[in-house]
Chain length 207, copies 2
């Protein structure tokens, strides 16, 4: 797997569906894996619990995935792209990257509330499949740094190292997302969001 590419190679243990009907079954299995692994953790989750939740037979699972780890990796690809798309849509109309930073983090909070399992699964990936975990964050940071680099060229964000700044902003998102949406099941208060905005905007605005 190429940790820097836009999409890592599929594990040899995944057989992508070839028909529309197959795609529906495949998606059902991914959604079921999200629920079962999200609720009970990777180690406790069983293939039979996943097929039961997807309402398909065990044999159907093995048409697409060789092992539980293969469906887990596929689930991480799904979360990765779904989350990025969700954030991109949320900030699509924002002209200034500075404003997009805080709104992007707020979109991330909403994503955490709507998909608590998906997000827990990404963090669990570190201990299930380190390569895919690292791919997720380095690829996310690469996209983030690219946006920041463009904003620096436009003079919207001060000249800083884009990768370091990307990891700072991802760390802020993940830890504040853990504290409020994940632990409390709610968005931060207006005052807390004001602090987030004030800290980030003062940190990245050109002098």
């Amino acid at each position: 797997m190429n940790g820097n590419s836009g999409y890592p190679e599929r594990a040899t243990g995944v057989q992508l569906p070839k028909t529309a009907r197959g795609q529906i079954t495949f998606d059902k299995l991914i959604k079921a894996a999200e629920k079962v692994i999200g609720e009970s953790g990777y180690h406790e989750a069983s293939v039979s619990a996943i097929t039961q939740a997807a309402e398909v037979g065990m044999g159907t699972f093995y048409l697409y995935f060789r092992t539980k780890k293969d469906i887990f990796r596929e689930l991480i690809y799904y979360v990765h792209h779904d989350l990025r798309r969700f954030i991109q849509i949320s900030v699509a109309d924002i002209a200034d990257r500075k404003d997009a930073e805080v709104l992007g983090i707020q979109a991330f909070y909403r994503y955490c509330l709507e998909h608590p399992h998906l997000y827990a699964i990404i963090r669990e990936a570190e201990f299930v499949d380190y390569e895919i975990f690292r791919w997720h964050y380095s690829n996310f940071a690469r996209g983030y740094a690219g946006h920041l680099r463009v904003a620096m060229t436009k003079g919207q964000v001060k000249q800083l190292d884009p990768e370091m700044l990307a990891y700072c902003l991802i760390g802020i998102s993940v830890f504040t997302g853990m504290r409020w949406p994940c632990w409390e099941g709610k968005l931060p208060s207006k005052e807390e969001i004001d602090t987030l905005r004030e800290f980030i905007l003062s940190g990245i605005s050109p002098a």
Copy 2:
């Protein structure tokens, strides 16, 4: 367990040593657990691998710990206090909290390099014992917010929500610590540290 207290209750499955000699054996077991669980992960690690690494008999393990999870929790307490002590010592002579922030994060990087297993173990705790994981970060953030509150009173740090700011700074530490010390086995470059400092100091300095 009280998630807000300075020290959570010991699990009923831990028997603290009563003699100096017992303490030496106990510490040996903790160090061995750090190595074995750090290298192979909690689920793969076995009590017998821990006792072999500690060079004690299996019976000795069970004098102090009822299960593998009990020694894991004890290890998290150890890491938590060891890390906080390490950072506190590193910034003890710094009068201005603003400067202490960045120096504290740099101390954290060194800690990650010196104790790669310990840090991975804290993150694994999320999936082994969620309660102790949450205790670690909420207790860490509580201490952090307390320092920030004092610095705000002194006018060293701008008036912001101390808890939100604490989680932002912890997120920055954890994610940049993951990217450089943990993944690359090295400290960020001078230019990267300059970005870290510029971002944080602009973000928290009073106008």
